[in-house]
Symmetry: C2
Subunit: 678 residues, 2 copies
């Protein structure tokens, strides 16, 4: 089929790139010539097996080729050796060894591509294109020649230029210190790790094709990490530990207070978090059968205070106005500078913080959820002690933080507790009888099922966690037990003994214990007020951003973080934590901050991308926005004083608001109301 | 005189740059606008006093201006404050404060220029243009604004951009760690040190205008350092210590052997040299009243083995063929990486090595002597255990090393010793009587002066040092005691009892001791052979380079190093150590390697310059050059077997060579001679 007997046509799929090459040209060479994406670490020496392809068999009408296995050279001894040593599917060929003999269609499987896609579990998000900051390159280096003396490094760099096209590289001192031995230990064949195409960070004698990286999310409560194979993007192990800083204070503000009152406290906390990370590294490496020295690259996210403490920067300034960050760009360092024991010259990249209360964790969330790449307006909310809020689309992106306090995490709630076995996490209330039924973490049955009593005996019913509180309050609201202004409707006491007076307000009995060790779980007026304050703060922040962006509707809501993973978004919306939105467009993003760290680990270009995005994010400081207070007061009502929830109303029948009266809460703000009314 | 009443003409001398500016413009602003070189650290705030100028008084016909002190605004309160605090010559003005009022001639004194010249002591070399790698900049930083939140670093960088035109700076982690405190401790006014216009390496609260640097020459025997003021280029203190590595071996090869025979020996020696440098830093800082933490930058030179050991690189490969360097480029590191205690983020620059035997010390020599910038062909020789030889001009530059051995330093010589009190350093021999007279280090008189006996009693005559050996041999040759083939002329025994037979050869008695503790100093045939071998090796290297360059004559000879400082070049030439050259064009360059380190310290561009030069130096490895052996044999004769010394002959009457005979030495090489003859 070829025009010239000495040339043959090759078509690579899926790219469709095609060209004619002399018979006898290795397929890898054809691919490189055409710019087809085929991976290799060994540079075509049949060692790494990364360049595997499949030769098409049959008539490919689309390409006008009858492709035959015989149109490629026979199985070579190098391929036989690779097959014997590492195994290879029978239809596969090493493209560096197989040579073009006639017209062929060559398929490059996904795993043979340099920029292979790392598939994410969630359908709505983009896959990660693999492009790690660390690449391995196997090279054969010229031996020294006394007639033309040059340094070993210079010959290595020349080899990297001619064999890999890498230019302007520099080398770490430690690479220099080990260079001569490495070259001579392996007959002048070495593998080097190159960081971002610029710096030689490691050298090994001989061939090596495994490089590992770590993505770490430093939360105030938990430090979580993923250990990844940088060649495949695969997560080899994931693990988390409690942040050892907890001994200095549960929440961020108590940690900052500790520093203010204890000189040197910042150093103690820096040491604590770094020690914790080192322990986590040990554990996670153990799980994957690796050593910390195998990790060549790491990425970190965390809120501003965790970020500063990790870097050994006193976060005191973040504890009070004007909440000035030390810096708001990303930073690349040696792991050693952070006292983290990875490979000796491992590099770490810490994602940028955005503003005093909007940290590198939010930068990670943005990388994961990509609101800046979409036409639709996306709201991303990460609920913690501070809610970090991002709103926008491809044109504009805004971010703020809102001081929700810890109520959503079960603190400040009479029966509240962390999400742990024994905690009530789901609640339904019969609007007729006002009888509740609920589910407890660690127990499959609902409380009204017969199996429940047996099942729950072991763990007990110990309290109510964040998602349970959201649900019970929303159900109480739907059942008319809570009025739109947040007061418990005392008239319902006539309907059920579960509604009862305590002091000057009413409460709702959710669970009467079956044994004396268990607590009685009651929803009090104070509990409702705590949640109202928290959700009003969250919503006021969201409204502020919506107002700035000039929208009264969002197309899509992503809930990031552990809290977002557990709550039922419908209930969150009933309570007015979130603006109205098509419920199909509201979902949990899981640990999006950690995913962002993983994206930055696996694709170096996203580091530049997030720095660019963070620079153009419009940072809104709720503390100095006059409108915040107004939005806050309006958002105290359930679901909201003024706003309607048309999308939600199609799914849930919301109580008809009673005529506006002087509720106790609104009575606290008479002048403000009057001013607005005038 | 001005055309418009609102504008005035200003001429700056010595640059002659001129321009019109609105009346009231500060002189510094006029200067910057015109590109006139005026220094400032405080950026025009009247703090640093670097921008002083003198207002011309009188008629300047050349410029067409009648300049008057009154044509500049009156003495300001800022100038009064500066004058009171730091003092200023009465005619001087701070150009940042003094404003143009009418046409004026403004003189910028040398010390007010950024690129001021550091004057070198030797007339024939270029001054150093001051342009240190570390520059200090005083800036006033905007305070954080909650309405437009940015990091403190980003506001500092913005200030450095708007106030100093510095862009794309990054900051060391330690700068970030101290940033917030520094800014707040001094009302948002700080001084930063910027390395090579790229990295913030230090931050201080408030104003600071002193930065210091250290230039270090790591010799195998001595480590010498200059402590410099980076603002003026002034050497504040100089000092040297013995290289503590001497305990592992006197010369380079014995140190490499130690490493080969003692695993970990390289680490011991690295530690030893670094410890030595740290002690030297302590001492030199003490002399200058500074702390090691005040040193922000350092440069290092040293031969390849010292270079590798300083960097913590095992130098074993340099101990044997093919003498491969680990790398042959310059390197910038943190002082911390070398375990050297300077300022926490001090940077060090280590000059490039050239080849396996031609080190960063030679790179320093090139920077100092600048053969690559001259039309004349310069020969630079640094004599040590290996002689490092550089030859060339602005078109081509060649370098090699020749294994002279330690004879020139007094080793392998029967009465030889280091240059120290008691060593004979100068010798004259009466050609008639063959009686010698000599001078001893530490004693002013010659040995034939009456004061000598009294003066020398305290120190004694303990031996003969390198320069003394050169002189005694040259004088013996001139007196006919040594024949051109290097044998002691036994016939002279008849003329003087100082020539006497010892075994099968003759010796010359230089000094008969006056007391029994002193040694008898005799020049033996073996001593002469040792020097012949050394000088033949040196000259063969020189000849090899001359042959490569295609010249049979050099225009200029620079002798670098301690040995070069002490020898009388005339005698070196008589012995044939050097090629013939106009003696006026032969001089000592002193510690040119150390000077090169100082140049690289004071002028950052010379670092790039030397790297470029080193890349294009043609490296000649004497060990693999077939011609080397021929040149070596020919150079055994005194002054040389074939070459004439026309320039030298004009100054010294050289003995007429006897007809070529079969000298004992040449008898060792009969086959080679026969082959050449055929």
């Amino acid at each position: 089929m070829s025009d010239k007997s000495s040339q043959a046509l090759v078509v690579f799929t899926p790219s469709g790139k095609r060209g004619r090459f002399p018979v006898g040209t290795p397929l890898l060479k054809c691919a490189r010539n055409l710019g087809v994406d085929i991976d290799t670490v060994c540079g075509g020496r049949g060692l790494c097996g990364r360049c595997q392809v499949t030769v098409g068999e049959g008539e490919f009408a689309k390409h006008g080729i009858v492709s035959r296995k015989e149109n490629v050279s026979e199985w070579s001894s190098v391929e036989a050796r690779y097959q014997a040593k590492k195994g290879m599917k029978p239809e596969r060929r090493l493209s560096c060894q197989a040579m073009l003999q006639g017209d062929t269609v060559i398929d490059v499987p996904a795993e043979s591509q340099v920029h292979k896609q790392v598939v994410r579990k969630r359908a709505e998000v983009r896959n990660i294109e693999l492009d790690p900051a660390i690449r391995l390159h196997y090279v054969e280096v010229e031996q020294p020649d006394m007639h033309n003396p040059t340094g070993d490094l210079e010959r290595l760099l020349k080899a990297l230029e001619t064999q890999w096209g890498l230019t302007d590289l520099t080398a770490e001192l430690r690479v220099l210190q080990g260079l001569q031995q490495a070259l001579r230990a392996s007959d002048w064949k070495v593998t080097v790790a190159v960081h971002r195409g610029q710096v030689l960070t490691t050298i090994w004698p001989g061939f090596r094709d495994k490089a590992y990286g770590l993505a770490v999310d430093v939360g105030s409560t938990t430090i979580a990490a993923h250990l990844c194979d940088l060649a495949t993007g695969e997560v080899l192990a994931s693990n988390g530990i409690m942040n050892p800083q907890i001994r200095f204070g549960e929440d961020l503000m108590s940690r900052v207070s500790y520093i203010m009152m204890n000189p040197g406290g910042d150093n103690e906390m820096t040491e604590a978090v770094r020690d914790g990370i080192n322990r986590l590294v040990q554990e996670i490496c153990g799980e994957a059968g690796l050593m910390p020295q195998d990790i060549l690259n790491a990425t970190f996210v965390g809120n501003p205070i965790m970020h500063h403490l990790l870097l050994g920067i006193d976060p005191t300034e973040l504890g009070g106005a004007p909440f000035a960050l030390t810096f708001n760009s990303g930073i690349t360092l040696w792991a050693e500078q952070l006292g983290i024991d990875l490979a000796p010259d491992a590099r770490v990249y810490v994602l940028p913080c955005i503003a005093g209360h909007v940290g590198a964790d939010t930068a990670g969330v943005i990388l994961s959820e990509q609101p800046h790449l979409r036409d639709e307006t996306t709201l991303v909310v990460d609920v913690g002690t501070n809610a970090e809020i991002v709103l926008g689309n491809r044109h504009r992106l805004l971010a703020c933080s809102s001081p929700t306090g810890p109520a959503f995490e079960g603190a400040q709630i009479s029966g509240g507790q962390r999400a742990a076995p024994g905690a009530i996490e789901r609640v339904r209330i019969d609007p007729e009888t006002l009888e509740p039924r609920f589910k407890v973490i660690g127990c499959e049955s609902w409380s009204d099922e017969t199996s429940f009593t047996e099942e729950v005996r072991r763990i007990g019913v110990t309290g109510i966690c964040g998602s349970g509180i959201i649900e019970v309050l929303a159900e109480m609201f739907l059942a008319g037990i809570i009025l739109p202004d947040g007061t418990v409707n005392g008239r319902k006491a006539a309907q059920s003994t579960r509604v009862f007076m305590e002091g000057r307000t009413f409460s709702y009995l959710l669970h009467e214990p079956v044994n004396p060790e268990e607590p009685r779980i009651v929803i009090t007026q104070n509990d409702i007020r705590a949640i109202q304050l928290a959700k009003a703060a969250l919503f006021a922040g969201i409204r502020l951003l919506m107002e700035r962006l000039g929208v009264d509707h969002v197309d899509r809501i992503q809930l990031a973080g552990a809290f977002g993973s557990h709550i039922d978004v419908k209930y969150a919306m009933i309570l007015g934590m979130l603006p109205d939105c098509d419920l199909d467009k509201v979902s949990s993003a899981g640990n999006a901050a950690g995913t962002g760290a993983r994206i930055a680990l696996l694709n170096q270009k996203t580091r530049d991308e997030i720095e660019r995005v963070v620079r153009r994010v419009e940072k809104v400081e709720t503390a100095v926005e006059p409108a915040f207070q107004k939005h806050f007061v309006e958002a105290m009502a359930i679901p909201h004083k003024n706003l309607l929830y048309p999308s939600l109303s199609q799914v849930v029948s919301l109580p008809v608001p009673e005529p506006e009266g002087l509720s106790p809460l609104e009575g606290d703000q008479p002048r403000r109301r009057r001013r607005r009314a005038s």
